[in-house]
């Protein structure tokens, strides 16, 4: 893998830090007029999601990380692994529970997900921003409450539980924003 000098640092560049792939969020050039230049770098550890800050003397080099983002179709979960396919090449790959920890409660099959691969292994999976899922279990709404606002929990077909308005019933299709986990609206098929 290539190494990158600090003067190639920019946001989005993927580098290896303590054996973990990280993505640069911010790169700040710091230099006294008559003194040593530094690059103060803020980055996200792509395995843990944690944000860290490190400083390099300008001109130092860091090993790059072989990380790419691909749009892959979610196929199925075999009980242990989540399987995805590249619709262009038909190549498949499998992601573990850790990689799909956020996405798994929103996907049921066939969705296109943004999969981040590190050395060809899925590191993280992002569900589509919006999904439509069926309500499998929710308490019946109380009469007269339809105009009042108020909310109740509803279990969706993937097992996710979201807060919904009181008028939502079993069998309804709901549009959900996966980034916030919030109900958006009822949806037609």
């Amino acid at each position: 893998m290539a190494t990158y000098s600090t003067n190639e640092f920019k946001s989005g560049l993927k580098i290896m830090i303590e054996n973990d792939p990280c993505s640069i969020i911010e790169n700040e050039f710091v230099k006294p007029g008559k003194g040593q230049a530094f690059n103060r770098v803020k980055m996200r550890n792509l395995k843990t999601g944690r944000v860290l800050e490190k400083t390099y003397k300008s001109g130092e080099s860091v090993e790059g990380a072989d990380v790419i983002d691909l749009d892959l179709q979610y196929l199925y979960n075999d009980g242990e692994m989540w399987h995805f396919m590249n619709k262009d090449s038909y190549e498949q790959c499998e992601a573990d529970a850790n990689a799909v920890s956020d996405a798994k409660q929103w996907i049921k099959g066939e969705e296109m997900c943004l999969v981040t691969l590190w050395n060809d292994v899925p590191l993280s999976v992002a569900a589509p921003n919006f999904v439509v899922l069926e309500v499998t279990d929710t308490d019946p709404g109380l009469k007269g409450d339809t105009a009042q606002g108020g909310s109740k929990p509803a279990t969706l077909e993937t097992g996710a539980i979201v807060k919904v308005p009181l008028f939502v019933e079993n069998g309804d299709l709901l549009k959900i924003d996966t980034r916030t986990g919030e109900y958006v609206s009822r949806a037609k098929e």
């Binding site: 008559k34 003194g35 490190k54």
Partner: protein
């Protein structure tokens, strides 16, 4: 997609007007004090040996091997004028420093530099304070480099062991901390000291360690310090000034030492400016000088945190 607006200035028209009034105020300030404006060349056969400043170069024709250096500051030419008997002078000049790009750095930037004959650096600090008042800022507070370290991270920067500096740097996020004392102190200063000093007003830091003396005289006290000051506003370095070194032998000695450092770092070794050295030998009057970053001053005055927002145009990406 190339934006159709890429031809537009990167600063707003409001900031461009502000720059105009700032330049007018500076010139009026200098006029009242009978400091003469000068205009010296940007190009020179000689570069700068400071290991922490990289010159940009060009040549007269494409075939010529003879390098020309773009000034990193108008200092050498202005000191030749002082040696020629000009008296106090100032200049507003574009200067060029390779590899310096960021929110507070541009490869090409605008510098106000002025020299006061028969001023020491305390008198010059006072005059910088008067300029700040004229442009609507406050008179700066003052603290020595040593006190700044003492107040924030409780070490004496002049006497602390290099190994302790390394440990502190590592604690503050610089893992590859070298044994270069200058770099270690720079790191701690930028990362912790300056961030933790009270800067409700502009702040002068003065009496720098000997290893940061550049073209400044030394105060032969214990510890030895360089008679140099810097101005900070809200954590940003705005100006750098000093009692100017007038001892030609000492200056040549420092240049040669810097060239050795450059060689050890694998950097280019620009030829020493022999005209400047000759001027020193003929006699530079006792004087103090200061360089002020105009763009950064404009950042403060227009409350911008990116130098691109105060530069009329920037190089941008190709």
């Amino acid at each position: 997609m190339a934006s159709d607006n890429s031809w537009q200035p990167s600063a707003s028209l409001k900031v461009i007007n502000k720059r105009a009034s700032l330049l007018k105020q500076i010139r009026a300030f200098m006029d009242t004090r009978e400091i003469i404006e000068v205009d010296t060349p940007i190009l020179s056969h000689f570069g700068i040996s400071d290991p922490y400043i990289q010159s940009m170069t060009t040549s007269i024709t494409a075939e010529s091997d003879a390098k020309l250096y773009l000034q990193t500051s108008p200092e050498f030419c202005m000191k030749r004028l002082l040696a020629a008997g000009s008296g106090s002078i100032y200049q507003i000049a574009h200067v060029f420093r390779n590899e310096e790009l960021g929110k507070r750095h541009n490869i090409e930037f605008s510098m106000l530099e002025w020299y006061r004959t028969d001023f020491d650096y305390f008198q010059l600090m006072a005059e910088v304070g008067e300029l700040l008042i004229d442009i609507g800022l406050e008179i700066p507070d003052k603290i020595t480099y040593a006190d700044a370290f003492e107040q924030t991270i409780k070490i004496d920067p002049h006497t602390v062991a290099t190994s302790e500096l390394q440990t502190l740097c590592k604690q503050h996020g610089w893992e590859g901390a070298s044994d270069d004392r200058h770099a270690l102190l720079d790191f701690l200063f930028s990362e912790t000291v300056i961030k933790n000093l009270n800067q409700s007003k502009p702040l002068f830091i003065y009496d720098y360690p000997e290893c940061m003396s550049a073209l400044a005289t030394l105060k032969r006290n214990e510890p030895i310090v360089s008679e140099r000051f810097e101005l900070f506003i809200a954590g940003m370095e705005i100006a750098n000034g000093f009692n100017e070194l007038i001892d030609a032998d000492e200056q040549v000695h420092r240049f040669e030492k810097e060239l050795v450092t450059r060689r050890n770092k694998g950097l280019t070794e620009p030829p020493i400016d022999k005209e400047f050295v000759a001027a020193l030998r003929s006699g530079l009057p006792e004087c103090s000088g200061v360089a002020v970053g105009i763009d950064r001053l404009l950042m403060v005055l227009s409350e911008k945190d990116d130098i691109n927002e105060v530069s009329t145009f920037t190089l941008g990406s190709n």
